[in-house]
């Protein structure tokens, strides 16, 4: 194996677990997470300098893996493959009042674009503060708030329709 390939393998061995954990959390299926991990890492390898920046690599992995896996969930849903759409586990500390029905919220989630889904997942599933979500996704805090407000407003409408 050449030096470059050995270095790539080493980076994969070190950072692959973070990608795998993220993919498994969002996909809920080990085989799908394994495949997604490989695909995400191939994307990450496009910028090896960034991969070697220990300060910023974790948020970058989070962003790339989250977008990738949410796209997989969306595509699976379009194809009618329910197995890739497990209910997302709500983060510890998230009150039931903010996230009243997981199944319902998941249905609402899938109605939004991936960027909005990523914000909602960051807040409700990962339990992150708005600032942390903004930093992880590379967007402003204002954008996080706006997307979250829109998400919640539509989630409530959906809830009202489904219960009326």
């Amino acid at each position: 194996m050449s030096d470059e390939r050995e270095e790539t393998a080493r980076i994969y061995r070190d950072l692959g677990p973070a990608v795998y954990r993220r993919c498994l959390r969002l996909l809920g299926d080990r085989e799908a997470a394994r495949d997604a991990t490989q695909e995400v890492f191939v994307k990450l390898l496009r910028d090896t300098r960034r991969l070697q920046d220990r300060e910023t690599v974790i948020p970058w992995i989070y962003r790339v893996a989250t977008n990738h896996c949410l796209n997989l969930r969306r595509n699976a849903r379009r194809r009618g493959e329910e197995e890739l759409e497990p209910a997302l586990e709500v983060a510890p500390g998230q009150s039931e009042a903010r996230y009243p029905d997981r199944q319902l919220a998941q249905k609402v989630l899938s109605r939004f674009d991936v960027a909005t889904q990523a914000v909602a997942v960051g807040v409700f599933v990962d339990g992150m503060e708005h600032e942390e979500v903004a930093a992880a996704l590379g967007i402003s805090r204002r954008t996080v708030s706006r997307k979250l407000d829109r998400f919640l407003a539509n989630a409530r409408k959906y809830l009202e329709r489904s219960t009326s």
Partner: protein, 246 residues
């Protein structure tokens, strides 16, 4: 009370425990320590079960290339080029060498490697290769299936790459190298390889018709490489474009 850190912060902690700002919280929070332990367990799972079967594909993947569409099966890099009318299958009984390359596809993993002077060189989708390059394949199907490997060129000629003879495709019970290899026909131009693996036999005539319909209408169609239509719904397929240039 200090709120529990997010998974993101726990990931950063795992990457640099010595300089972790959340270490004080972890020392006093049983729940977070349990979360961290679970994350470590998943890390071990990655190193034990995921890394060994994916590292070749990750290492082989050219860094400057984007991923192909999900339906595609990646033919990992190698100086390969599909043979058009004059494909020759070369019997080479030895298995994959150190330059084995594997890339995940839709329910199928394909490994491709080509012989160069003294080593294999990886090629990506759309990459240029010698018009007379030699290549080999290895396939890892998700389930037992019957495999076809075919190519189509800008003249609309569909060539059987594997199996060279017989009907219905070659039975693949599990992962393994395909016997023989392919020598390109020496003609410059685009060539697209399609791999199809289905639980049931597919007649070559049906596959040829599907390939011709998808990519048999000239160089632009070959380069566009639309997915094959009209195949059984449970058939996994993948494709790779090669540009044969002297």
């Amino acid at each position: 009370m200090i709120p529990c850190p997010s998974d993101l912060k726990l990931e950063a902690h795992l990457l640099d425990e010595a300089g972790s700002p959340i270490a004080p919280h972890l020392s006093s929070c049983d729940r977070c320590r349990a979360r961290l332990e679970e994350m470590r367990r998943l890390g071990d799972e990655f190193r034990r079960e995921v890394y060994p079967v994916t590292v070749d594909a990750v290492v082989a993947r050219p860094r400057s290339r984007g991923p192909l569409a999900r339906w595609m099966l990646y033919l990992a890099p190698i100086p390969v080029a599909a043979a058009a009318a004059a494909v020759l299958l070369l019997v080479q009984p030895r298995g994959p060498g150190d330059d084995y390359l594997g890339v995940k596809g839709s329910g199928l993993t394909l490994a491709v490697f080509a012989r160069a002077t003294d080593a294999a060189r990886a090629v990506a989708d759309g990459e240029s290769v010698s018009p007379s390059a030699a290549l080999r394949f290895q396939v890892r199907p998700a389930v037992p299936c019957r495999l076809w490997l075919v190519s189509v060129d800008s003249a609309g000629t569909v060539s059987r790459l594997y199996p060279a003879a017989g009907e219905g495709g070659a039975e693949m019970a599990g992962p393994g190298p395909l016997p023989g290899g392919v020598l390109l026909d020496g003609k410059p131009g685009p060539e697209r390889i399609y791999a199809v693996c289905a639980p049931r036999a597919i007649a070559f005539a049906d596959l040829e018709r599907a390939v011709r319909a998808a990519a048999g209408a000239g160089a632009a169609a070959v380069r566009a490489g639309r997915p094959l239509q009209g195949l059984p719904g449970d058939a996994a397929q993948a494709t790779l474009l090669l540009e044969k240039r002297p």
